[in-house]
């Protein structure tokens, strides 16, 4: 396999924002243990701004690193801006991923999407 970048290794070995949030405003739970990747993303939103985000991930180095990076990217962003964060954005923020691991960055995008969707649906109630 190709090498992970230093940034990936940094986020893998010192993942940011691991854990859960009490009373989260949105939760995304995506992936599938069949494929070896499961990610749970919780967000706290205030005035349409994501003020906190926490994750838990079952997966490989790339899955954990993208999860960590995704939380860093969303914190402080408005919901609208957060929605613009694609898998490519996350991978680039990590200085790229080995080709066979690119699919892992989908996990973060999907989890984010799911968390925002959950947030919107909760707002409507």
């Amino acid at each position: 396999m190709e090498q992970y970048s230093e940034k990936v290794m940094d986020h893998f070995s010192n993942p940011r924002n691991v854990g859960t949030i009490e009373n989260p405003d949105g939760v995304g739970h995506v992936g599938n243990p069949m494929c070896g990747d499961v990610m749970e993303l919780q967000i706290k939103v205030k005035d349409n701004i994501i003020v906190d985000a926490k994750f838990r991930t079952f997966g490989c180095g790339a899955a954990i690193a993208t999860s960590s990076m995704a939380t860093e990217l969303v914190i402080g962003k408005s919901i609208d801006d957060a929605q613009k964060i694609t898998n490519k954005v996350v991978a680039e923020a990590l200085d790229g991923l080995p080709p066979v691991k690119m699919h892992c960055s989908n996990l973060a995008e999907e989890a984010l999407e799911a968390a925002i969707k959950d947030y919107h649906s909760k707002q409507k109630k």
């Binding site: 396999m1 290794m9 070995s13 243990p33 070896g36 990747d37 499961v38 994750f55 991930t57 954990i64």
Partner: protein
């Protein structure tokens, strides 16, 4: 930081004595063994000497040995070679679900080309059931290929008995002995095999050299056609230094095999016990007793293997999740699924494989750091909530 290398099943460092044996055959004794002039006598003799060493080691005649470029070529050669040579006799092949990819994908390839393949299931310990095997044999069965010991979980198959069944039914029998040769006794007559694959770099020999034992009278179509080398069974200018190094490695391996098997088995069982005690929700994969002396394969609930490996690597510990060559694959190991593990558990497995330089102190260090790694990863896993 000194590496603690616990991935000997993936590859081993070439022994310095092996390198010394090879060195004269690069530059001084470089003659093409097929040539007629005196310059080539030493290379020709060196090859035949290595052939004899291997033949003696496995109870074969030197004429029954063909050198190849490694275990994968030997497997491909044996299986495709029989398939092609006996295609008028039948087109059915029997193998197991837990073979190395060199066997499995060769069988899949043959399936696409008009052959029928039965992939025998194995029990929870990774052992082929003899009754199932015998039932699977048909009049058109031309080959049974079952590995001697599995590279991931270390389970050792009842090759001798499988060979007896094959003999009774007049079917050719191949075994992939890449993980066993040099580590536990391998004798082609005790094992009742017609074909047997070995690979140099698994027992401190060089990479890129292997051999196939072909029992006298076994018709086999070459995989590599061309010149007259290897009694016309494998064309190409011989890799003389590789062959010489292979011979030396066999010699060295046999010299320490018995003692090492005992030493490693002791360390293995001790290490397994320690880990299972220290780390909750973990389990041993593969047969508890009939397993390679150097193989430890453990699954940890709720976390994924690669992230364990990367953490171990930060402590200078080299291990693997299943077969090294599939580490770029996303699928969990076919071997672990075949012994009944869930996908999740299969994803969370680590293999430690010991070697002749592995010390108890190294294993103690691993046992020291591993529980913390598992705990850290479980803390960030949504699949582990205990």
């Amino acid at each position: 930081m000194k590496t603690i290398y616990l991935d000997h099943a993936a590859t081993t460092a070439t022994d310095p004595q092996v390198i010394d044996a090879m060195l004269p055959y690069f530059h001084e004794n470089f003659g093409n063994p097929s040539s007629i002039y005196s310059l080539s006598r030493s290379t020709r003799n060196a090859i035949e000497n290595a052939r004899e060493i291997l033949a003696n080691a496995i109870g074969a005649n030197p004429k029954e040995i063909v050198f190849t470029s490694g275990g994968s070529e030997s497997d491909n050669f044996a299986i495709k070679g029989i398939a092609q040579a006996l295609k008028d006799k039948g087109n059915h092949i029997i193998t197991s679900q837990i073979e190395h990819h060199a066997v499995l994908y060769t069988c899949k390839y043959l399936e696409k080309n008009g052959y029928n393949v039965t992939y025998l299931p194995v029990d929870n310990n990774g052992i082929v059931k003899l009754e199932k095997l015998e039932k699977a044999i048909r009049p058109d069965t031309i080959l049974i290929t079952i590995m001697h010991a599995n590279n991931e979980i270390g389970s050792i198959q009842p090759i001798r008995q499988i060979g007896e069944i094959a003999k009774k039914h007049g079917t050719k029998f191949h075994t992939d002995a890449v993980q066993t040769f040099g580590h536990i006794p391998v004798n082609v007559n005790d094992l009742n095999v017609d074909l047997l694959s070995v690979s140099g770099h698994k027992f401190y020999g060089p990479k890129g050299i292997g051999a196939l034992y072909i029992r006298k009278g076994t018709k086999l179509t070459p995989l590599i056609h061309g010149g007259d080398q290897e009694r016309r069974r494998r064309a190409s200018t011989e890799n003389v230094p590789g062959i010489v190094g292979f011979g030396k490695a066999v010699e060295l391996a046999l010299g320490i095999m018995e003692d090492e098997a005992i030493r490693q088995t002791g360390m293995r069982d001790n290490f397994i016990q320690t880990l299972l005690e220290k780390i909750p929700d973990s389990q041993l994969n593969g047969h508890p007793v009939n397993r390679l002396p150097n193989n430890i394969n453990i699954s940890f609930e709720g976390i994924e293997g690669e992230s364990i490996l990367l953490n171990l690597d930060m402590y200078g510990i080299a291990a693997s999740t299943g077969s090294a060559c599939s580490s770029s694959s996303l699928e969990p190991s076919h071997v672990l699924l075949s012994i009944g593990l869930t996908h999740e558990f299969a994803h969370g497995s680590v293999r430690f494989s010991l070697g002749k330089h592995t010390s108890q102190g190294e294993l103690d260090q691993v046992a020291e750091v591993l529980p913390g790694i598992i705990q850290k990863l479980r803390a960030m896993s949504p699949r582990y909530n205990k």
